[in-house]
Amino acid sequence: MISRNLKNRYLIAKIFHGFCFSVAWLGVLILGILLFHVTREGFPWLDMQFLTEFPSRFPAKAGIKSALYGTLWLISFTALISVPIGIGAGVYLEEFAKKNRLTQFIDLNIANLAGVPSIVYGMLGLVIFVRWFGLEQSVLAGSMTMSLLILPVIIISTREALRAVPNTIRQAAFALGATRWQTVSAHVLPAAFPGVLTGIILALSRAIGETAPLIMIGALTYVAFVPEGPMDDFTALPIQIFNWASRPQKEFHELAAAGILVLLFVLLLMNSLAVIIRHRLEKRKQ
């Protein structure tokens, strides 16, 4: 016989289950609506011409080539700068640094930096990289600013991934007369790699969509050329999208939607690359 008490408990469990189910699908639903709208507006504009033409005053002729190339340049250099520094700092703090006041202070700072608004990084980039280093509004200045912005995220996720590696593996290596570096490079870092990679992709995905710091450092909004080196001027997808969206004509709004689709596609490509790499690595481990 089921007592009334047990019936109530089952009811509460069901309600909670329903609540979690709905909030989980709410996110998917919103994303679906967004995708639907953007696709309906932008899809007709998506063709080869859109990808291979430079922006123009005439919507029919306008393309996204300079912004797409700019974003690829920007994200490549951002990755080149932030990944080694981020992983290095994470490994140092988690595996090598003594736990003392100083490292606690650094910890606290990094956690806070992860929450600083991106426009503040833009101002920092403007003062340090654009003015002080004299890099002008170049790809390099933009990449360095973006690197500052995502470094805390990479460092924190690297540390989380390292912390998730069971201590027994470190002990096994140490007991074989391994130095700390041999332990970390041969066992700990490879074991943490999938987690580190996830962090990097999340951070780069954030960088790819950031607009404010780039506008702050003065990245151009109308560019009729593609960058050929790190010192060239550039524009990026979110800036181009922002530019089109702020114009009054409806055609430009539709172009912005098409730009969003391109941006989402680049993001998706990056994420699936990470999933494939991670999957391969995990299979090799089995």
Binding site: L176, G177, Q286
Partner: protein, 272 residues
């Protein structure tokens, strides 16, 4: 450096011929060792000698400091935050906690097998070969891996799948792999921290047989919760209780004619 140390004369002067004989047969001398974790005393002044080519068992209730002491013998306590070792641990007469002793060198000579099998998530071959390779082993690595796996009584079970992951092995096999990994370093002493506590009786029997074989070439120190294991496998037994050494002697005597009541209560299961 330890290699030089091995040739060095013992620091304690030997008086009689008999003591000299004893000295040579003692691998580790633990002298009034106190170990604390952030001020909390876990080992309260223990003096103990570990004889060469024998199995010495350390028994005692949980939290008595037996694992702590074991881990101080190859400086694995260095990694525990706030751990502090006082007193002397002499390895062939050299203080392991001396200023010019490199802990990495210590661990090359004094290997360890842990409570839970902890193979690297790599191939069986790589698990065994990694230690010698990073330590600059010059000989035939393949031959060394085969020899180590044979010594650990695992060779026949894995010789056809050395390239497959160590994670595909059973728990007992994994533990023997960990023993093989320690043996591949050609150590002098092997410390085992409850090596069978996560294993079933059949695997346990396997590993105990293995310990008998190993003592011909190595000195073994095992920490165990299992009374039968201590009585079956070891030549000497030390009984610890709350950080103190209560009794140390030949296993036979500890289990049949203990001098202390507390020892008797513990080994017969009447303690508390």
């Amino acid at each position: 450096m330890i290699a030089n140390l091995l040739k060095a004369k013992p620091t304690t002067n030997v008086v009689t011929g008999k003591m000299e004989e004893n000295q040579r047969n003692i691998v580790l001398e633990i002298e009034d060792v106190k170990i604390s974790y952030s001020g909390e005393m876990a080992v309260k002044g223990i003096t103990l000698s570990i004889p060469r080519n024998e199995i010495t068992a350390i028994i005692g209730p949980s939290g008595c400091g037996k694992s702590t002491l074991l881990r101080s013998l190859n400086r694995m306590n260095d990694f525990v935050l706030g751990a502090k070792v006082e007193g002397k641990i002499l390895y062939h007469g050299i203080d392991l906690y001396g200023k010019d002793v490199d802990p990495v060198e210590v661990r090359r000579k004094i290997g360890m097998v842990f409570q839970k099998p902890n193979p690297f998530p790599k191939s069986i071959f790589d698990n065994v070969s990694w230690g010698p390779i990073i330590n600059g082993y010059k000989g035939d690595v393949y031959a060394l891996v085969e020899k180590s796996l044979q010594q650990a009584a695992l060779w026949d079970e894995v010789k056809d799948r050395l390239k497959s992951s160590a994670m595909t092995l059973s728990g007992g096999q994994q533990q023997r792999l960990c023993i093989a990994r320690a043996l591949a370093m050609e150590p002098d002493v092997i410390l085992m921290d409850e090596p069978c506590s996560a294993l079933d009786p059949v695997s346990t029997a396997h590993i105990e047989d293995l310990m008998f074989e190993l003592k011909k070439e190595y000195t073994l120190v095992i920490v165990t919760h299992n009374m039968q294991q201590a009585s079956r496998a070891s030549k000497y037994t030390a009984f610890f209780e709350s950080g103190n050494l209560i009794e140390f002697g030949e296993t036979q005597n500890i289990f049949t004619l203990p001098k202390e009541n507390r020892t008797e209560d513990y080994v017969t299961g009447r303690f508390g």
